[in-house]
């Protein structure tokens, strides 16, 4: 079996030194099936070989963490004997090749990660990144990718019956060749019903359930671990096709089977399919798993052991049952009309042994595939950036026009066009749906609610990866606090370019370290996540470093505080104060991007401690029932946030009087963090709470009917009809998708 030629290795994305390690671990040459198994388990996607040593720097523990990284999802205690399981996963590469199915199966994969833990998924959010929709050359393709991705997410989530409660969507040229589709999911589980993906009990049967295995997705994990080339389109068969109906049945059947007490451990077959589930379940339990592929339900004839082991057919699970109680498990799957077959047995030897009709085709020690997988401390220098430190000279002669353009822009406009395609209410838990600072779902069983927020900012991270990551964590926590929730835990999706380039690796390291610092500060341990590297298309710019944070928080179940003004005559308080800005710190703002077409300098400055105190203040203000509305400042700064507060059915505007020496463009549009707009009937008490937290609280004006006016020291800066602004904001995305020019 000396047929392992260099090009065969290259085809498997294994380098010669990795191959030497395989020879040493096995003490012989691998079979083709074994080579395939190594290639997927040692792929970047499964082994985290470039990021592993750095991921260890992330905080992963707190009193509430019941399950940290290493399982299919993290789990947090929410009290009353209940817990939430949540995680984020990317499906970037498949979504570029086939947007609809790529995104759909991304949703399917993360949902399985949740119910594998015994939790019923109740909420999904999506972080999306596309190329600009109005790009003269690539706009049509970018629009097609967006439409496909959104329909795919809607198709899968709606049919499965999980609420898609929010997310974010941002456009940059660097995502034209590499769209990002990151899907977050969250489920509920009783403590005593938590299941782990772990084999136990020598002699216990290994049972395969769900869809039959086909050739789809063979080598999906290795595809997701390489740059795109012109041949990538030919990898289309690598993209799997999802069946949300089957997944719904699988969910119900798995949860029901778990209740029988006959299930010992369970894992979904996601990336690297049967390979990953068998060796990981065995490895985690310190035991072996032996399977015979002849028993694997197959939907195509003539599949080789190699193909069966590497198939990424969707909607499949592997479980270990108690010997003698198989029939209880089979009965449940029969009831739901699903295939279930015993394909193997738990062995004492810590080996993955694969037979085909009784003949051994692979026999590998589990640790060789997991613990012994390569770990690289890749060289990292100075983070990649070409942006200058200094920006252009500018002076606006139409601040009202600037605001209109910002509100109509792809990044800042309403994403209603997207989220109204998602069923965001099914299971009647969503008390605050899409379009707010954070989404809230009530946990009926536990009498408590969970808030969640997804945030990323590639521009900030491009300018300064470390500071950018800190800002993202801060914004996520601020989003939660702005709805009254206490942030308790996080999951991260790290999207970057090619880690073999030291300047990209430097972005990864800096982001992880910044994130670690901020998460420790906000006491939001990261209980799991995903790393997606090689997001670059050969010959083009790598994507902006795009870490996405999913942060969850807890709050009482009651009527939510929304961002929108509720009544005229209320005081508007800017909690956190006007903030500071200079030319350098203005270079990462939306104003710099949309109005000046530039990117320079550094992201806004962040004081972690001040941010934390601001969060504590707004949570107390909300808990005391003082906030009629609450909305955090982020992209677009004060003017955009004020406009957004006005976009409610009540057509309520604001009259604002500022007293600042800042130049008007900065004052209106700078993006310094740690700021929240509150409307209240009791500003004095709001100020007291803020003072106790040593946080600024400035009364900047009042709510009025129908008009937004902003004046600074007597000079009018903004004067606009709320409805006119709202129409631009509301229809922004549809206009861009129509390919029409935005008239502002």
């Amino acid at each position: 079996m000396s047929a392992i030629a260099p090009d065969l290795l290259a085809h498997h994305n294994l380098n010669p030194s990795e191959y030497q390690t395989i020879l040493a671990l096995l003490g012989r040459e691998p079979t083709l099936t074994e080579l395939g198994i190594f290639s997927v388990m040692w792929s970047e996607h499964c082994s985290y070989k470039s990021s592993r040593i750095h991921l260890k720097k992330l905080p992963a523990r707190s009193k509430l963490v019941l399950q940290g990284p290493g399982e299919n999802a993290g789990i947090i205690d929410i009290g009353g004997g209940y817990a939430i399981a949540f995680k984020i996963e990317s499906h970037n590469h498949p979504s570029f090749i086939e947007p609809f199915q790529g995104a759909a199966t991304g949703v399917g994969g993360i949902l399985r990660d949740i119910f594998t833990m015994g939790a019923r998924p109740i909420a999904v959010m999506d972080a999306l990144r596309f190329g600009p929709l109005d790009d003269p050359r690539k706009g049509a393709r970018n629009r097609r990718i967006l439409e496909g991705v959104v329909s795919g997410i809607a198709h899968y989530g709606n049919c499965f019956g999980v609420s898609t409660v929010g997310g974010e969507c941002v456009f940059e040229p660097s995502y034209s060749g590499n769209p990002l589709v990151n899907v977050f999911a969250l489920g509920v589980v009783r403590h005593k019903d938590i299941f782990l993906a772990r084999a136990a009990g020598v002699g216990n049967p290994v049972i395969y359930v769900g869809a039959k295995t086909g050739r789809d997705g063979v080598h999906g994990a290795t595809m997701a671990s390489a740059e795109f080339t012109d041949d990538s389109k030919q990898k289309r068969p690598n993209v799997q096709v999802g069946d949300p109906f089957l997944e719904k049945l699988l969910l119900e059947a798995c949860l029901e089977a778990m209740q029988t007490g006959a299930v010992v451990g369970i894992q979904d077959m996601g990336a690297a399919g049967l390979t990953c589930s068998t060796c990981e379940m065995g490895g985690r339990g310190g035991l072996g798993i032996e399977i015979d592929l002849a028993h694997v339900p197959q939907r195509e004839t003539g599949m080789s052991p190699y193909e069966i082991m590497l198939s990424e057919s969707q909607e499949r699970m592997l479980l270990v049952a108690s010997k003698g109680r198989e029939e209880e498990v089979f009965a449940v799957f029969r009831k739901w009309g699903l295939d279930a077959a015993t394909i193997g047995v738990v062995t004492p030897d810590n080996l993955l042994r694969v037979k085909n009709h009784g003949v051994i085709v692979a026999e590998i020690p589990n640790p060789a595939l997991t613990d012994a997988a390569p770990v690289y401390d890749r060289p990292h220098g100075k983070p990649y950036r070409t942006a200058p430190m200094k920006g252009p000279t500018f002076s606006s002669n139409d601040l009202n026009g600037d605001l209109r353009r910002l509100l109509a822009s792809g990044d800042l406009c309403s994403k209603r066009y997207i989220w109204r395609q998602y069923d965001y209410m099914v299971r009647t838990n969503t008390t605050l749906g899409p379009g707010a600072d954070a989404a809230i779902v009530r946990i009926k069983e536990a009498g408590i609610s969970v808030a969640m927020s997804l945030d990323g900012n590639g521009r900030y991270c491009y300018l300064d990866p470390r500071e950018g990551a800190r800002l993202i964590v801060a914004e996520g926590c601020r989003n939660l606090s702005a709805v009254g929730a206490r942030p308790v835990a996080a999951t991260n999706n790290l999207n970057f370019g090619n880690p073999e380039r030291p300047e990209i690796m430097a972005q990864i390291v800096e982001v992880i370290e910044g994130m670690a610092e901020a998460c420790a500060h906000f006491e939001t341990p990261i209980t799991g996540g995903n790393v997606s590297l090689y997001n670059e298309t050969r010959g083009e710019e790598p994507i902006f470093p795009t870490p996405v944070m999913g942060i969850v928080g807890l709050l009482p179940t009651e009527s939510p505080v929304t961002p929108f003004f509720k009544a005229v005559g209320r005081d508007i308080v800017l909690l956190g104060g006007a903030g500071a800005c200079d030319e350098t710190r203005f270079g990462g703002t939306q104003y710099a991007k949309q109005i000046l077409g530039g990117l320079w300098g550094l992201p806004p400055a962040l004081d972690l401690d001040y941010e934390k105190r601001t969060g504590a203040a707004i949570r107390e203000i909300i808990a005391e029932g003082l906030a009629e509305s609450s909305h955090d400042l982020s992209d677009g700064g004060l003017a955009v946030a004020l406009a957004e507060c006005c976009f409610s059915p009540g057509n309520i505007g604001a009259s604002i009087e500022l007293d600042s020496g800042m130049r008007p463009e900065y004052l209106l549009f700078h993006e310094a963090p740690s700021r929240i707009l509150v409307s209240t009937a009791n500003p004095a008490r709001v100020e007291e709470i803020a003072a106790a937290q040593r946080v600024e609280a400035v009364r900047i004006g009042n709510t009025v009917a129908a008009r937004l006016t902003i004046r600074n020291r007597g000079t009018s800066l903004i004067d606009a009809e709320v409805r006119a602004l709202e129409n631009l904001w509301e229809g922004g995305l549809e206009r861009l998708l129509d390919g029409r020019l935005v008239q502002t």
Binding site: C159, F160, Y424
Partner: protein, 226 residues
């Protein structure tokens, strides 16, 4: 004694639990699940066909569900005068089964729409709207991709003449003919509607306007209770 609702569970139903929850928690009535594979419905006083994607909605929404064993029982129950409420996918199943006339096509905009919408109560002469006022506006969510109600002109005239249109959209979201959101059979005991009243029975969900449908059912059941 509370009224006992049977909530049918098809493979792919995903609003079954929501219907059960609103009946039991918001209305304080009883509810039990009825499995699609059984021809027996036991001792229920009304049946809800919930929303979702029964049998994956393969072929056509509701087209496979009509052949399920439970639908034989539902037909018997309906023909003996029992109250049947089909919501969303349940409405699609009722038209596929021939218990209601017409058909539900893809939304005019070709996209799935999830949104709260306003409905106008078109008649109170029904066991599903007796507790409402004529012309009352109800805010109830929709969540469907195929909710565009169509029927031939004669059927539409018949529905109008017999006062069998229960709800009309105030601002038609899906292209339904004559803004129809919900209709009844000639026997006035089977209602199909695209909006989800079970999603609007709890103040935390933003509206309680859906209660009136379920409360009407409870009220109309009371007089014949032994």
């Amino acid at each position: 004694m509370p009224m006992n609702f049977g909530v049918v569970v098809f493979p792919g139903s995903n609003c079954d639990h929501d219907a059960w929850y609103s009946v039991t928690h918001s209305l304080g009535q009883k509810a039990e699940f009825l499995w699609h594979d059984s021809e027996r419905i036991g001792n229920v006083d009304a049946i809800i066909l919930p929303g979702g994607f029964s049998y994956g909605d393969y072929l056509r929404c509701g087209a496979i569900a009509k052949f399920s064993p439970i639908m034989k029982a539902v037909r018997r129950f309906a023909s003996s005068g029992g109250l049947v409420l089909g919501i969303c996918n349940g409405f699609q199943i009722l038209v596929e089964s021939g218990l209601l006339p017409g058909a539900l096509l893809r939304n005019r905009g070709l996209k799935f729409i999830c949104a709260p919408v306003d409905l106008r109560v078109a008649t109170v002469d029904s066991p599903f709207t007796s507790a409402a006022h004529q012309g009352q506006i109800l805010r109830i969510p929709i969540a469907h991709g195929e909710g565009c109600y169509v029927a031939d002109e004669r059927t539409l005239e018949e529905l109008e003449a017999e006062d069998r249109v229960l709800f009309r959209y105030v601002d038609n979201p899906n292209g339904s003919l004559r803004d129809i959101a919900g209709i009844m059979n000639a026997g006035r005991n089977v209602l199909g509607m695209m909006p989800h009243p079970e999603r609007a029975t709890d103040p935390l969900m933003g509206s309680t306007d859906g209660r009136v449908v379920l409360e009407s059912m409870v009220a109309s059941f009371a007089p014949v209770r032994k």
